[in-house]
Symmetry: C2
Subunit: 328 residues, 2 copies
């Protein structure tokens, strides 16, 4: 099966993705009868092109991909996200679906702000919209539930989903100040130059909304998540927790209340030391799913990185090729 890809966004994740499909080309061909060719690219700063010809913008690249006659036409969306409204990723996803392309994205915005609409639009257009890399750096959370937990309802979840705050809290437990810990994270490239979206819990809230929308059919946005970030007293709380045998973590959680309304919360919590989430250090993250049939199942990534996110994009593309292969 011959897939043609348009890369919308060309940052670190996209670069690693391009390396990865090159490195695994033989495996994709032998195990999945799939060849991938990048036919178009659009970046904010270096312009856009399709088949070697310049384009006006990402939307023209997407439209031209839609007219290709490849077996699979796939938009790979990895632009820099405005996490407060999900753009421009949402517009790119919508344009891809409208052009009759499958869309894979590593951005949480579309799923956090517009999941139900995009899911329904993709279904109506007969294309797939996948986003395994959007929330947990490539550990297979959405594929896990869709492919391996049939006939199971997810009734809630609880997780540690933001690496920057996890690093900072761990450092503060050991006596470092918030400012020193943050500066070190920035030097090491873990925290963003503007870390407020991580520190104030906004990134975790966007991931919580994305997870709740997909796994629990919640129809919320990040604005519906009750959110408490790290503050001046967090270091003291972290040290006090540790002294009493507990561990402070920024915990993201979701459940339905007695009326069926979603209750989604991001807040620092002092967890018992033997809680699964208490042991997560550094860039580890984890999600505990509360299910109706299997009690609690957790999936953890013990060392996240760019490579995982790039892998998630590739695994979504393989999922598309498998589904398409079994249809024809």
């Amino acid at each position: 099966m011959r897939a043609e890809l348009a890369l919308i966004g060309r940052g670190n994740v996209a670069r690693r993705f391009v390396e990865l499909i090159d490195q695994r080309a033989a495996r994709l061909a032998s195990d999945h009868q799939l060849t991938c060719r990048i036919v178009g690219t659009a970046t904010r700063t270096h312009g856009a092109n399709y088949a070697g010809e310049p384009c006006a913008d990402a939307f023209e690249v997407i439209a031209r991909l839609g007219r290709s006659r490849a077996d699979l036409r796939i938009v790979v969306e990895t632009t820099t996200l405005d996490v407060r409204n999900g753009e421009p990723a949402i517009a790119h996803v919508r344009a891809g679906i409208d052009a009759g392309c499958h869309v894979v994205t590593a951005n949480k915005g579309p799923v956090a702000f517009a999941y139900a609409d995009l899911r329904d639009a993709a279904a109506a257009a007969g294309v797939r919209f996948l986003f395994e890399g959007a929330v947990m750096d490539g550990i297979p959370i959405f594929n896990l539930v869709r492919e391996t937990l049939p006939a199971v309802d997810i009734v809630g979840f609880e997780g540690v989903v933001n690496a920057t705050t996890n690093h900072i809290i761990t450092a503060m437990e050991l006596g470092e100040t918030f400012e020193a810990a943050l500066a070190r994270m920035q030097e090491e490239g873990i925290a963003e130059a503007d870390p407020t979206l991580d520190v104030d819990g906004w990134d975790a809230a966007a991931k919580t909304a994305a997870l709740a929308n997909v796994l629990m059919n919640a129809r919320i946005t990040p604005l519906d998540v009750r959110r408490t970030g790290l503050g001046a007293s967090t270091g003291e709380s972290a040290r006090r927790a540790r002294a009493s045998g507990r561990r402070l973590k920024l915990v993201a959680s979701a459940r339905r209340d007695a009326t069926g309304a979603m209750v989604c919360i991001v807040e620092p919590r002092a967890l018992p030391a033997d809680d699964l989430l208490a042991g997560l250090t550094g860039s580890a993250n984890a999600l505990i799913l509360e299910t109706d049939l299997l009690n609690r199942i957790a999936i953890c990534q013990l060392s996240g990185s760019l490579s995982q996110t790039a892998y998630a994009l590739m695994s979504d593309i393989i999922a598309i090729s498998r589904a398409d292969g079994s249809r024809s």
Copy 2:
């Protein structure tokens, strides 16, 4: 799609399975266009029958199922296992495949002793042989790797996979004697009347072989696993570990050495307190997968039970119906 099932073995897991497919019948029909009907049963003590007529044994039940004209013919194998040779489960699986039936089993024996042969026989016969409930009580470990980690190699694993020994070690940490802890586990129905297979690490070794065979294409049997069970000094080791901030666990692990040979070990290990496996208490179990592309990923079940194993059988049946539906 109309599935006809023969239950080989009719113990607690099979009973819970029958309840479950009844409880979820509407969901199976709406989400998976699948109806399941039990047409045959074979037990060691209460005889065998097919379509209401008595049969000589399990093999006659399987042979008659093979002549049915249902869309899907599925043998559901849950007999009591001789974990030292994998029988009679292996013979039942083989008979099912030879009769042209799909086979799902909750027994680890076939995968621990004869995986490659049974896999190849099933492929040659055009049927599926699935066993999600065989090792980790229904958490989706085999489906996880097969369905959600395409193009990833598993290069090793480490886990806590036996609930009885985990319960006993936890109790001994808190000062209980081995004998008292074991007696309590037996009263509560957690440990078997004959607990030696758990206590001496044999059950964990069989699971290790099963995981290594399927996830790492190992072609070993439980006899190839280096095995140290719990002994007279384990309580003292557990208390000493805990006093120094570590936790003793019976750890199952596998990797390849520099020559490519499998090194599989089951032994008590004192783990750092923040190791993911250290926090597992009671019937929790977990497996950490070491991968070539995603570093370390863990999947944990925080509260295992019979229901999970029964669910695993159902999820295997759904997987069979999905694959069959996409083929036709």
